[in-house]
């Protein structure tokens, strides 16, 4: 068992989007408990305030990653509050049409909204924060972008067209970016946390049995381990 002092997560600077509910909140709590310095982003100011209040030392940032004009103010607040950045978790997601719709019944605007939140948002925020992540890597750490994906990125589930297509694009973007950024010490992974009892899942499948779904805290555990393993492999420059 690591002591907090030896924990690779201790002092790690992590930003999480969609941090006030579901997997994002679970990751925020788990990483914070391990001594990481955390900033989180969400749209609802009252909820951001409540989560920040419940988690002393965390930095709550109000913003919508699907909006182009919010990206730089978010990035600025992240790096100003943490003094840089080691890990970015792009967790905030949009389902697309609610209720779920067959692709041919999906309005173009709903597909655009899913792409804005699930693809363009992570791309823009990743770009805006890449300087900070690369600076962390030059300092000798491995820095990391984790894009939260879904098995809908790979499997063509009817009714999940907007969400699945946007997550598929995010998955492939992650692979290409990882290949390009590796030489700079920045890794980009996309991870599928599996089905969880979250607000997003409830929107998609309102009659699902919550007992049959993972709790977000359980889904967060392997992701926290992935972060710890990745950043622990520091090259001492």
């Amino acid at each position: 068992m690591n002591t907090l002092r030896d924990d690779p997560l201790a002092g790690l600077r992590v930003a999480i989007t969609g941090g006030t509910s579901g997997l994002g909140l679970a990751l925020l709590q788990a990483l914070s408990a391990r001594g990481a310095r955390v900033a989180f982003v969400a749209r609802d100011a009252a909820r951001v305030r409540r989560v920040a209040h419940d988690l002393p030392g965390s930095h709550g940032i109000v913003g919508d990653i699907a909006r182009r004009d919010d990206i730089h103010p978010i990035a600025l607040q992240v790096t100003a509050a943490l003094g840089g950045l080691d890990v970015l978790v792009n967790n905030a997601s949009s389902l697309g049409p609610v209720p779920l719709a067959l692709l041919a019944d999906t309005e173009c605007e709903d597909l655009e909204a899913a792409l804005a939140a699930n693809l363009l948002g992570p791309f823009r925020l990743g770009k805006a924060l890449l300087g900070a992540l690369a600076a962390s890597a030059r300092g000798g750490a491995t820095s990391l972008v984790l894009n939260i994906s879904s098995d809908a990125a790979v499997t063509p589930y009817p009714g999940w067209g907007a969400y699945g297509a946007s997550k598929a694009a995010l998955h492939h973007l992650s692979r290409i970016w990882d290949a390009e950024l590796r030489e700079h010490g920045v890794r980009v992974f996309s991870v599928d946390p599996g089905d969880m009892d979250t607000p997003l899942h409830a929107l998609a499948v309102p009659d699902a049995d919550p007992a049959a779904l993972q709790r977000p805290a359980d889904a967060a555990r392997p992701i926290v381990a992935l972060i710890a393993n990745t950043v622990a492999h520091r090259e001492v420059a």
Binding site: D69, L76, Q77, A80, G131, A132, R138, G139, G140
Partner: protein, 373 residues
Amino acid sequence: MRAAAVPIQRPRDARLLVIDRHGELHHAARAQLAHWLRPGDLLVANDAATLPASLHGTHLRSGAAIEVRLAGRPSLQVDAVHDFTAVVFGAGDFRTRTEDRPAPPPLSAGDRLQLGPLQASVVRLLDHPRLVELHVDGDADDIRAGIARHGRPIQYAHLPQALALWDVWTRVAAQPVAFEPPSAGFLIDWQMLHTLRERAIGFATLTHAAGLSSTGDPALDARLPFDEPYHLPASTVRAIADTRRSGGRIVALGTTVTRALEHAAQAGPLRAGEGLANQRLGPHSRLQVVDAIVSGTHEPGSSHHALLQAFVDAAVLRRADAALAAGGYRTHEFGDSVLVENARSSQRSPRQASRTIVRSIERPGFAGLLRPA
């Protein structure tokens, strides 16, 4: 030279005037910068992101509209967001030349300012009616959010369109501590960083809180650059030492990098950590660390231009200025660039005579003598 009036960081036709250590001039494409560096060299950039440091608001006692331009901070510590040095303008915005901007209402200690969501007070005047020490109220997270949402990038009348933050953040922008962009770094993109790697040219960064380049007030402009805090990472100190040991050159990307590295070297061997650059560099300066600089094409008379005289003789710089003018190079932050190799290294003895002349005409008045005829 003509002003670059479009905010494109890497125009495809961007140019680079190379002034080599023999004083020879070469016209080049700026995208080819890596090919003007040698394997084993180290390019050092300023990775500061730029704050939206222009805050419009109201001077509450008079009700007058003002613009506050944050211009300095004592430290880079993340929670040091309450106290700033600031220049205050009267009504109007960047579309009016700073020289023509009305003065703010008379300011005195204790005056309250409403700057969008932010509330601040004037702590004291700093020996000038427009230069103040400012204290911003509130929780650090709220101040950061207020600046992020209400602030706009500081800009000048030569650029007619309003800048967004993405216009002024370099590709390597990290911690947001600069008040104006470290614009020499606009030329970097990830393709160039890849090319540097392929050519075995090192890349390192420091973080330097670049301040204002101009205020429009001659008395204030004469005091620029203000003191600027910087952070020098341990990995950069190591990279510089390794480069030196193997005979490579230290190439500073921008005047802020030069100022920070030379400041850090004043007290002996480079050490990692934070410092406050408070020196001016000019013809009298003997550079300890930097062997070459890549910089914007600054106009004679500016502090940036004076700094270039630490690298080359006045006569060479005068020829370079003439070449920039004749070649139609673009100036200002989105303009073309120069690469200046330090002529004053060990090989510099043949130039001793002219350097003596330059040294004898230090700061006051020298800029006028160097203007192209």
